[in-house]
């Protein structure tokens, strides 16, 4: 069983994001970029399925600027067998990415695609569901546990939902998107980072895949949210209760 894992290069989660003064977006110049944390969980899950003898091959896919190669090398250092990079300088929105991934799935025929549930830059939480729709496959989003059936025709997936957890049984092929509690991703070791440099990385383009990636949404402006003014420190619990009762009037 082949597993495809889409990975996204995003601003590192520790970086404090700055909105550009002209309102055109956020400042990405000289900012540390990393793999989207949910995608690290996705790679880890795919690699564990391979280590358990369930998956036969893990293929990482990314779309975007040439520098996304680094993200794919990281994915391979974490255990992906090979990578595909769809190179474009166009701004990629979730629907376009889902179409690119569908084109890759049509060629690669994976039994499972494991995207992260959302990217921490645009926070859209759409791509996995859109891909499942385009392929006509079932989806199991926000997964915290994945158990593939012995005959590999289906999987039981436990999902994090608003009231708690739910477990669904889906037929394969399917799209499973990761939540944080699915696993704890490993760190890439130096020998594995070296090995990853020799693993195959194929490049293609949206044109070669026959996908129109033109953005559907136009960003008119990006602004900083209103800053919340920090308040006061109170001396003790009595002072806190007094403020809550008499100033804020919330208790």
């Amino acid at each position: 069983m082949k597993i495809l894992v889409p990975v996204k290069r995003v601003i590192d989660y520790n970086v404090k994001v700055r909105v550009k003064s002209d309102g055109s977006g956020v400042d990405l110049a000289n900012v540390k970029m990393s793999m989207n944390p949910f995608d690290e969980v996705a790679i880890e899950e795919a690699v564990r399925l391979k280590e358990a003898g369930i998956a036969s091959e893990v293929v990482a896919v990314s779309a975007g600027v040439a520098a996304c190669q680094e993200t794919l090398r990281t994915a391979m250092a974490l255990g992906a067998d090979r990578s595909i990079l769809i190179v474009t300088d166009e701004e990629l929105q979730p629907l376009a990415v889902a179409k690119l991934l569908k084109a890759v799935c049509d060629k690669e025929a994976p039994q499972m695609v494991i995207p992260g549930k959302q990217a921490i830059d645009d926070d859209a939480n759409q791509t996995g569901q859109m891909l499942a729709a385009l392929l006509g496959w079932p989806q199991a989003t926000f997964a915290s546990k994945v158990v593939v059936n012995a005959d590999k025709t289906g999987a039981a997936v436990t999902r994090e939902i608003d009231g708690g957890l739910e477990t669904i049984e889906i037929s394969l092929p399917a799209v499973v998107t990761t939540d944080l509690r699915l696993n704890e991703p490993r760190y890439a070791t130096l020998p594995n980072i070296m090995k990853a440099k020799k693993k195959p990385l194929e490049t293609t383009t949206p044109e070669a895949l026959g996908v129109d990636v033109k953005p559907r949404l136009k960003t008119l402006k990006v602004a900083e949210p209103a800053k919340r003014a920090g308040g006061v420190k109170v001396a003790d619990v009595a002072a806190l209760v007094d403020k809550l009762k008499n100033e804020a009037k919330v208790i």
Binding site: V26, I120, Q139, E166, K218, V232
Partner: protein, 310 residues
């Protein structure tokens, strides 16, 4: 212009987030249809019909919608999409699950988690954990949108709108619910609570988390929330998580206990009206957003707070 809002419910009770989505629809303007898809869910349709601003309720009552699986629900919405200029759902776990499927099948973009309606084709949505607000314009024929509940006051009660039956689509048969483990609690729902008491890693254990926070929550009639660190450490169930990838809340009072205030946590609670932070570390970032900060050991401060509130 007619807008379709997809109701969220458990076949018995309409979830309050639906009211916020209807309020967002009212801001866009036009007639508002509400789709109630489920099984034996007539009571939900009746509740939806009484919400102010609703023109009509469409009720698809069939076995294949009982568990609100994304595949069947999306197919139903798509089959009925032609009449609508906008399709809205709450930005809850359920809405986030099925609505992108609808958008992809309609070959349109989805606009996730809107916090403001600028015009019928232009919306504001947070990006980068709420550290930036993007104003986006859609040129698509149908605007498919999830609505951040905290940004829109819930729609109230109004005159009863008509309820019309809607034929179901065929069961896709590719997904089946095995079971649910729902957190049973007499406390208010996190996203609808007036007061939230929220705990972080400093609670130190699952036992402490419950023993320290619950008496205070009970006294205040509050919901209990948690930081990602507390959930990851197993102190609290996943559905307690407040933050960028958990629940977005904006209660009148948010009491953060032993929470340092990571960016991703602030993203989920910084719209709260009054924020209280109790933390031992005077440098904790949570104090930068707290209206009232108390530098203290939570194990002393929370019981003292409980005793001081009568």
């Amino acid at each position: 212009m007619t807008i379709l809002v997809i109701a969220e419910h458990d076949n018995a009770v309409l979830k309050p987030a639906t009211r916020n989505a209807i309020a967002a629809a009212a801001r866009i303007g036009g007639d508002i249809d509400v789709l109630v898809a489920g099984a034996a869910c007539a009571a939900v349709a009746e509740a939806a019909a009484r919400i102010a601003g609703v023109t009509r309720v469409r009720l698809a009552d069939a076995a294949q919608y009982a568990d609100h699986g994304a595949e069947n629900l999306a197919a139903l919405v798509v089959a009925n999409a032609a009449a609508y200029s906008h399709i809205l759902a709450p930005a809850t776990a359920a809405g986030k699950n099925f609505l992108p499927r609808v958008a992809a099948l309609l070959d349109v973009a989805q606009i996730s988690d809107i916090v403001e309606v600028v015009s019928p084709d232009t919306f504001v949505r947070p990006i980068y954990a709420g550290n930036a607000l993007a104003t986006v314009q859609s040129a698509d024929a149908v605007k498919v949108i999830t609505v951040r509940g905290t940004a829109f006051e819930p729609a109230g009660e109004g005159a009863a709108a008509p309820i019309e039956a809607l034929a179901g689509a065929a069961d896709a048969g590719i997904s089946r619910l095995v079971g649910r483990e729902l957190t049973v609690s007499a406390r208010p729902e996190l996203t609808a609570a007036r007061v939230i008491v929220s705990g972080g890693r400093a609670l130190g254990s699952n036992e402490n988390f419950h023993a320290v926070l619950e008496p205070l929550a009970d006294k205040l009639g509050a919901a209990v929330g948690a930081s990602r660190a507390a959930v990851d450490a197993g102190y609290a169930p996943n559905d307690y998580q407040v933050g960028q990838t958990g629940k977005i809340v904006a209660p009148e009072l948010y009491i953060a206990v032993g929470i340092s205030g990571a960016i991703q946590h602030l993203a989920g609670m910084k719209e709260s009206k009054v924020i209280v932070a109790i933390n031992k570390d005077p440098e904790a970032p949570i104090f930068q957003v707290a209206d009232y900060g108390l530098v203290a050991d939570l194990f002393d401060a929370v019981p003292a707070l409980l005793a001081a509130i009568d």
